[in-house]
Structures are given as C-alpha cells and as structure tokens.
C-alpha cells in the first residue's frame, strides 16, 4: 500500500516535471525567436538547460538517491559543461 502510494506520488510528480520542461523549452525557443542575445540571455538559457538536465538526472533517470560518486559524475557533467560554456562565452565577448 505504501509502495503504491509512493508510485502514485511519483507519477503525479512526473507530469509536473514534463510540463515544466516543456515550458522551459518554449521559453528558450521564444528567446531565440525574438533575437535575445548577450550574457544575460545566455545565462538564462543555460540556467534553464541546467534545470531541465537536473530534472532528467534526478527524476527521469531516477538518480536522486544513488551513490554520491554517480551523482557527482552526472551533475558534475551538467555543471561542468554549463560553466565551461559560460566562461567561453565571456571570453568571446572580450
């Protein structure tokens, strides 16, 4: 019964996560469509990508409670890429 309750809770949550990711995708597309550019836009776009990536790793891949090593590997990849892209973008401005 407890397991069933957990699964129902989890499924409900998955719907919200899917909706949130679709909304963030539309936001990113709109920013591109309306020609937003510059550091602030890039930070917003990459932040939305990090949020979507976190949701995929945590809730779709279901890595929220796995060993710290695998969490470091996966979130490290996501944040590592994002920070590298931000730094390279900042260098490209100068």
């Amino acid at each position: 019964m407890r397991t069933m309750k957990k699964l129902i809770q989890n499924n409900t949550n998955i719907h919200t996560i899917w909706l949130l990711m679709v909304a963030l995708t539309i936001l990113g597309y709109a920013m591109g469509k309306f020609g937003f550019s510059g550091l602030i836009s890039v930070l917003i776009l990459l932040l939305t990508a990090v949020i979507k990536g976190t949701l995929i790793i945590r809730d779709f891949m279901e890595l929220r409670d796995v060993s710290l090593l695998w969490q470091i590997i996966m979130y490290g990849w996501l944040w590592g890429i994002t920070l590298a892209l931000i730094l390279i973008y900042i260098f490209s401005l100068s």
């Binding site: 069933m4 957990k6 699964l7 809770q9 989890n10 499924n11 409900t12 949550n13 998955i14 919200t16 996560i17 899917w18 949130l20 990711m21 679709v22 995708t25 539309i26 990113g28 597309y29 920013m31 591109g32 469509k33 550019s37 836009s41 890039v42 776009l45 990459l46 939305t48 990508a49 949020i51 979507k52 990536g53 949701l55 995929i56 790793i57 945590r58 809730d59 779709f60 891949m61 279901e62 890595l63 929220r64 409670d65 796995v66 060993s67 695998w70 590997i73 990849w77 996501l78 590592g80 890429i81 994002t82 590298a84 892209l85 390279i88 973008y89 260098f91 490209s92």
Partner: protein
Amino acid sequence: MIIKVFISLYHYTFSVNKTLALEEPKLLPGDLAIWFFIFMELLVFAIAFIAYAITRMQNLELFNEFQLTLNKEFGAINTILLITSSYFVVRAVHAIKRDHVNTCINNLNIALGFGTGFLLLKSLEFYDKFSAGITLSTNTFYMFYLSLTMFHFLHVILGMIILFAVAFKAKRGHYSAADHFGVESGASYWHMVDLVWIILFPLVYIIR
C-alpha cells in the same frame, strides 16, 4: 511574479522527491555496464560541445550569421518530442515496477512514436540543408552543426533500437516487477540521449 511561480514549481517538484528519498535508498537503476557506456558517451559529447564553443569564439561573425539559417521551430519541436518520449519511458519503468506489463509495452510504443517523430523532423531539416547544397565542407559552422546533430541523430536511432528490443522482450514476458533491470537500462540510455539534446539545442540553435 514569474520568478516566484518558477521557484515554487521548482521547490514543489523537488520536495516530493525528497520525501521519497528519505524513505527508500536506491541502487543505480539498470545494469552498471550501461552507466559506464552512458558516462563515455557524455564525455564524448562534452568534448564536442566545448570544441564547438571554442571554435565559435574564434569565428564569432560566421557562427552568428549562419546560425540564423537554422530552423529554430524544428529544434524546439524536436526538444519537446524527446522530452515527451522520455516522459513515456519513465511511465513504462513505473508500470513494470507495478507488474503492469501491457502498460509498460504501450508506454514504450508511444515513446518510440515520439522518437520516430524526432527522426522524421530531423531528416526533413537535413534534407532542407542538403538540398540547398550545404555540406560538411561548406563552412566551419555547418561542419559543427551537421557533425553534432548527425552524431546525436545516430544516438537517437541506437536508443530507439534499444527501446524496441526492450518492448519486444517485454512482450515475450521477460520483464516483471521482480526483474525490470533491462527496462531501466534501456530507459537510462534514452534519457541520456535526451540530456545531451537539452544542451545541444540552446548551444547550436539559440545562443548568440
């Protein structure tokens, strides 16, 4: 106001999971081997993304000019198709954990349908570029755009083959609530394909 709503949604999605996390510590989903494979794939894509960004920095005007020729609508729709496909794969994993084999198969089939949608739209995008005479050697931007998206395209095909194999095995009764490692392994690979696209789409299509 928008930021407040955004933060509330973010907290809501995570707070439910925190409750679950305290109740049941988990092992890595699926087979350990698939995770090493996923890790290797992510490293390759990471190098490709950084190479793209550095080359863009050195050819800023060229990249900004030719990025405008990309179809942002197709890119955004493809992102939604992949996210939705991943969502149905999650539902398939939840179903098999409840021993609902048919629901699992149905969700996998729907996920495969969205994956096919991605491949069709991406093929249309490639056809559009190739018919305009654009190739890998047209310029540095198109070399990166075509290489990155085609490399990802091949991963979508591989992911779909894996999902198809999982659905096929599920139909033959190979999976149950007690034995669902295969479904989780296939699902994890598919989510990796999604995760890579989540970075690729803004990087190549939007950021300027």
